[in-house]
């Protein structure tokens, strides 16, 4: 296997008296999709913020593309960030810009060599990929929740990053829109061939897209492995968390381990 | 045009409150609690601002009167400008900035979280429940806050005049006392009551009509303090015109 784009070594983080991450270590494999799951408030989002350098750990290493985000200077952090893309929970679009301008923003900032027409082509291409063609001029407050996520996704992939992170891609969406987003992630996974990290508590969506699963519980990594390893693990907390959400596949049933899809 | 519609809405809000709640007994405990909160919250800010208003009043008065050879008039200038106009207005502006914005943002957050709808569903009149205690509370404390502002303004301008500008303290006090009457203090109290009504109704109204979400809360809070200030200054002019004009 190639060198892992993200590797966590014994990461600790506390906020005041509250321990949020308590010695988390694992490597995220290159070119595959890793889901980080766990109940609310177990430090999933905090872990994600460590990977992108918004929070620095109290102890341990967070290596992203070989740079240790725990103590890297600002310039090195920005250099890492130019190689990754992230989809935020509600898209985190700038309300002062139009849909197209939002997607164009990272290109404008980091690729001054592109002409306006080239940038426009890239934006149209990205809008195509997230299945929202022709929305360039739509003001962002007029977008629906699902559309905001897709635009956020288009913005995340516009710079052709090597690593794409998703923060709760399904939260706040109805089941149909949520499935459509999962399908979109699955599609991008096949076309882009980059590393995906998905943070979620929505097991159904996770099972559909993940190659590897890491489960966090109270700041600790309680399960880590391939999808099949984790979904069949005997750990009591994993069982409790998965049990309610999941119809486990029996060996003679070829369906993926998920509820029926609405297409 | 939009401004006129807004003022109309505000007036209607006041009438609506009066119709539904004027005859009801106010919630005594909550009213006292609000009075205490508004008073205590606004006091440190009020003290600081009145202090600096006093210092600058003395500095500017001194600079304006020196070319006339009328340094002795500083005491009179400070007393008239401070007691009649500035102290009541500054008290109002700070209560609007501190307590008014808080009223607006609290009510706007309740609107965002649909708690106001919940009150209606539980058959509690939100005007009575949310506006009445704040209104009676602010009416209780505003005159006292104004008196404090007057006092602090005079003290700080006295200190600056005597210690920084080297004026004769006896002359300062003589001129200050000679130019203020009980009537001026009384006028200040009338103004304080008018400002209290304005601040409370404007701030609560901004909260009630706010849009949902964080932007809505921010906008309501922002609007509350700006509109309160404008209306207070305008009504200050009207009251002064009636009483001194």
């Amino acid at each position: 296997m190639d060198e892992a784009p993200v590797s966590l070594v014994n990461v600790h983080k506390r906020f005041g008296a509250l321990t949020v991450l308590d010695g988390v270590s694992f490597d995220i494999p290159k070119g595959q999709t890793t889901a980080i799951i766990g109940p609310s408030g177990t430090g999933k989002s905090v872990l994600l913020k460590h990977i992108v350098g918004l929070i620095r750990p109290d102890e341990g290493e967070v290596r992203v593309f070989g740079t240790n985000m725990a103590n890297a200077p600002e310039k090195a952090v920005y250099a890492v960030r130019k190689r990754l893309g992230m989809l935020f929970q509600d898209g985190a679009l700038f309300d002062s810009l139009s849909t197209g301008e939002n997607i164009e923003f990272p290109l404008r900032q980091h690729h001054p060599e592109l002409s306006a027409a080239e940038r426009r082509d890239r934006v149209d291409e990205a809008l195509e990929m997230v299945e929202l063609p022709g929305l360039y001029d739509r003001p962002t407050p007029a977008l629906s929740g699902g559309q905001r996520k897709r635009v956020g996704l288009a913005r995340a992939i516009i710079t052709r990053p090597e690593l794409i992170l998703f923060d709760e891609p399904n939260s706040g969406l109805d089941p149909m829109t949520s499935d459509a987003i999962d399908a979109l992630i699955g599609h991008l996974k096949e076309t882009l061939h980059v590393t995906f990290v998905v943070i979620t508590h929505d097991i159904v969506g996770t099972i559909n897209v993940a190659d590897h699963i890491a489960m966090l519980y109270q700041g600790k990594l309680v399960a880590w492995g391939t999808r099949d390893e984790v979904t069949h693990a005997d750990h009591p907390i994993v069982r409790r968390f998965l049990g309610r959400n999941l119809v486990l596949p029996s060996p003679d049933d070829p369906r993926p381990a998920a509820l029926p899809r609405i297409d | 045009m939009k401004a006129l519609a807004w003022i109309g809405g505000l007036a209607w809000f006041g009438v609506d409150w009066a119709r539904s709640s004027l005859s009801c007994r106010p919630p005594a405990g909550k009213t006292l609690e609000e009075a205490y909160r508004i008073g205590v919250q606004s006091l440190p800010v009020l003290l600081t601002i009145s202090f600096f208003v006093g210092t600058n009043l003395a500095l500017q008065g001194y600079n304006a009167f020196v070319p006339l050879g009328g340094q002795r008039l500083v005491g009179m200038f400070v007393a008239m400008a401070g007691v009649r106009e500035l102290a009541p207005l500054i008290a109002a502006a700070m209560v609007a900035a501190k307590a008014g914005t808080e009223m607006a943002s609290q009510i706007a957050v309740m609107r965002t979280r649909e708690q106001i709808d919940a009150l209606e569903v539980m058959a509690v009149n939100p005007y009575w429940f949310l506006v009445t205690p704040r209104l009676y509370g602010i009416i209780l404390v505003m005159p006292a806050l104004t008196l404090i502002a007057v006092f602090v303004t005079l003290v700080s301008s006295f200190l600056v005049s005597v210690f920084q500008l080297g004026l004769n303290p006896a002359t300062f006090l003589e001129f200050a006392r000679g130019s203020t009457r009980m009537r001026d203090i009384f006028t200040g109290e009338v103004k304080a009551l008018v400002f209290a009504l304005i601040i409370c109704f404007v701030s609560c109204y901004c909260g009630f009509v706010s849009e949902k979400g964080p932007e809505g809360v921010g906008k309501a809070t922002n609007q509350a303090v700006v509109v309160s200030c404008i209306l207070c200054v305008t009504f200050n002019y009207l009251v002064s015109q009636v009483l001194y004009g």
Binding site: D90, Q109 | F52, R84, A108, V109, G218, C229, Y237
Partner: protein
């Protein structure tokens, strides 16, 4: 007490980092002009609505004083001293704090809550440079402009009261208007207000930038901004005025 000192230190670091980004390129000119324009436009009405009646009140009270000494012709000089040196700078800045300061706190606060600031950082763009510096710079420009308009409105209020309402002769008013005031007073007002603009901008952006706790947190940021910005620039006003005139 130590808590307060820590906060002031934290603010100092923030202010220094923003100041560095205001004076060094690259600059976000687009947002700077947009914000300066919006602030000037949105504060214009409130500034005039406050300074005009205030000018009238000075006219009213000043006339009462000068009538006692039979020195009515000094009134316009007093009005222009009061308006140019103190009232217009202070009132314009109070309204900038209330209107622009609070809307900056609200904007940045909701950008923080909706993760737009984090998103900016993730896209390897310096959020202080991109979002905060143009706002602070815009207030440094807009505050003196609004002060100048406040000067005009305040003098117009004084004129309205003494000439149009109280019937003092208009020619005498205009002739005595610049009795005690000079170009330096106007300049002093401009310098003062750009300092106030910087103070308001920094305090507002600080509260917005470090907002926590959802919609209620945004409300709190706005609330704190108006009060603390006003307090700080009043204190600064005393110091500047002492240095300039005394």
């Amino acid at each position: 007490m130590t808590d307060l000192l820590a906060r002031i230190g934290h603010f100092g670091v923030f202010a220094g980092r923003v100041a560095w980004r205001v004076v060094t390129p690259p600059w976000n000119f687009g947002d700077f002009f947009r914000h300066a324009w919006i602030v000037s436009l949105r504060c214009l009405g409130p500034v005039i609505a406050v300074t005009f009646p205030f000018g009238m009140v000075i006219g009213l009270q000043g006339l009462a004083i000068f009538n006692m000494f039979g020195a009515q012709r000094l009134l316009p000089s007093l009005i222009s001293v009061a308006v140019l040196r103190e009232l217009s700078p202070v009132l314009a800045s109070v309204l900038v704090a209330a209107q622009a300061g609070s809307s900056y706190a609200a904007e940045l606060g909701s950008m923080r809550i909706k993760e737009e600031l984090d998103a900016t950082e993730i896209m390897a763009v310096d959020s202080l440079r991109w979002h905060v510096a143009p706002r602070v710079a815009a207030l440094i420009l807009a505050c003196p402009i609004l002060n100048t308009l406040g000067d005009v409105a305040g003098l117009a209020g004084g004129y309205t009261m003494s000439v149009l309402i109280k019937g003092e002769p208009g020619g005498v008013f205009m002739a005595n208007l610049w009795g005690f005031t000079h170009a330096e007073d106007l300049l002093a007002g401009l310098i003062k207000t750009s300092i106030f603009g910087a103070i308001i901008g920094l305090i507002a952006c600080y509260h917005g930038f470090y907002t926590t706790g959802g919609a209620a947190g945004v409300g709190r940021a706005v609330n704190d901004t108006v009060v603390r910005a006003t307090l700080t620039f009043f204190a600064a006003n005393y110091i500047i005025t002492s240095a300039m005139f005394a």
